[in-house]
Symmetry: C2
Subunit: 204 residues, 2 copies
DNA sequence: GTCTATAGCCAGATAGAC
DNA sequence: GTCTATCTGGCTATAGAC
């Protein structure tokens, strides 16, 4: 029998840990800061999660599992190319405006520890590129879109959607935008990104 | 009078520090590891750079000053839009294939410490968006390209060029590419990226 | 389950010989 | 300028009372 208070404590920790790890990364985060953020005693972190490493992994996997399914939809759903691009761009940007540190956190830790990807891929049923590849080459053959490699298109879709969040500080500096102005720019990207891609791949 | 050996030691440290900081970040890097990498005694790091923080800043500014001028060219040179896109994409990708950890390092640290951007901007003569904005709105008015906001186009150019390096581990996982295959994909992006952008903004 | 106190370690920084 | 030895503080983790 699990008491409600236990669940609450565990969730408080996980949420606090998420906020701190997203900001500071694994190496920069401090267990004391997570405890403060969760408003609980530091030793409870160890009681519930044993070690910083395990707490981190719990946070990381949760974060990754929010990101990956959206990408999988692009690769493996039975939507048309156009629908995929529109839906993904809209959904992803909407989601990321609410969680702007997520992409940076995930990519940061994947870069530090690239072997981690394999682990994540092996646990989940990770779809191959095959469906998407066939869909693109079919569309090219049938003259629906201009010739383009599926991999390059896939990278472009990810880049245009994800980069505005990872690169926010840099972009803000260059275009000299306030946080509020940048937010507006991001809002417009919900449709801007898919327009940009579709304009590029459609036949003239 | 500076001995050649002094210069060599300082440079050895700076290069070693760059490699370690790029991989581990400020928080994850260890002075001992930098010393090992430079094959010098740990206390010499402090002799030359006083503290980890100062050594880090030296590395960071050097890195940023390699990245920023290329972006400035997009904003402020007198090339045509098309030339800018082609040159930047080609030059940037060529450069980054040689320094693949640079973008991740810079964006990581900017996200950890966003105020740092202002400092960097104030030291350098940072061009405003004005030139680029005028160039784009002129081209739109004259019917040379389809209507698009300069800020959105600028973000798209950066995203398509920079993301493939930051997101490499993630992309490799999804498209199931080996390091060698991914390198080939990146090579093709030297021209693929500019084609993609130009196809999108040109009039039908 | 929750707290205090502390063990044990490790990293940045410095003192001081050479 | 370069080395060894060491100080100092901070961090993860645990022991143990309640």
């Amino acid at each position: 029998m699990i008491k409600t208070k236990d669940i609450s404590a565990e969730e408080k920790i996980l949420n606090a840990a998420r906020r701190v790890f997203e900001n500071k990364g694994m190496a920069g985060a401090r267990m004391q800061e997570i405890a403060n953020e969760a408003k609980i005693n530091k030793s409870l972190l160890h009681y519930y999660y044993r070690s910083k490493q395990l707490l981190f992994e719990a946070v990381f996997k949760t974060a990754f599992n929010k990101l990956a399914p959206q990408i999988n939809t692009v690769l493996n759903s039975d939507q048309s190319i156009c629908e995929k691009i529109k839906n993904f761009s809209n959904n992803y940007t909407t989601f990321m405006i609410k969680h702007p540190y997520l992409p940076n956190f995930i990519l940061q830790e994947l870069n530090r520890n690239p072997e981690f990807v394999k682990e994540l891929i092996s646990t989940k049923t990770f779809p191959s590129m095959n469906n998407f590849k066939n869909q693109i080459s079919d569309a090219v053959k049938k003259g629906k879109i201009r010739p383009i490699e599926a991999e390059q298109l896939f990278i472009n879709i990810l880049a245009l959607n994800i980069f505005p969040f990872i690169g926010a500080p840099l972009i803000k500096g260059f275009i000299n935008a306030t946080d509020k102005e940048y937010k507006t720019i991001l809002e417009r990207r919900k449709t801007e990104v898919s327009d940009f891609i579709i304009q590029s791949i459609k036949l003239k």
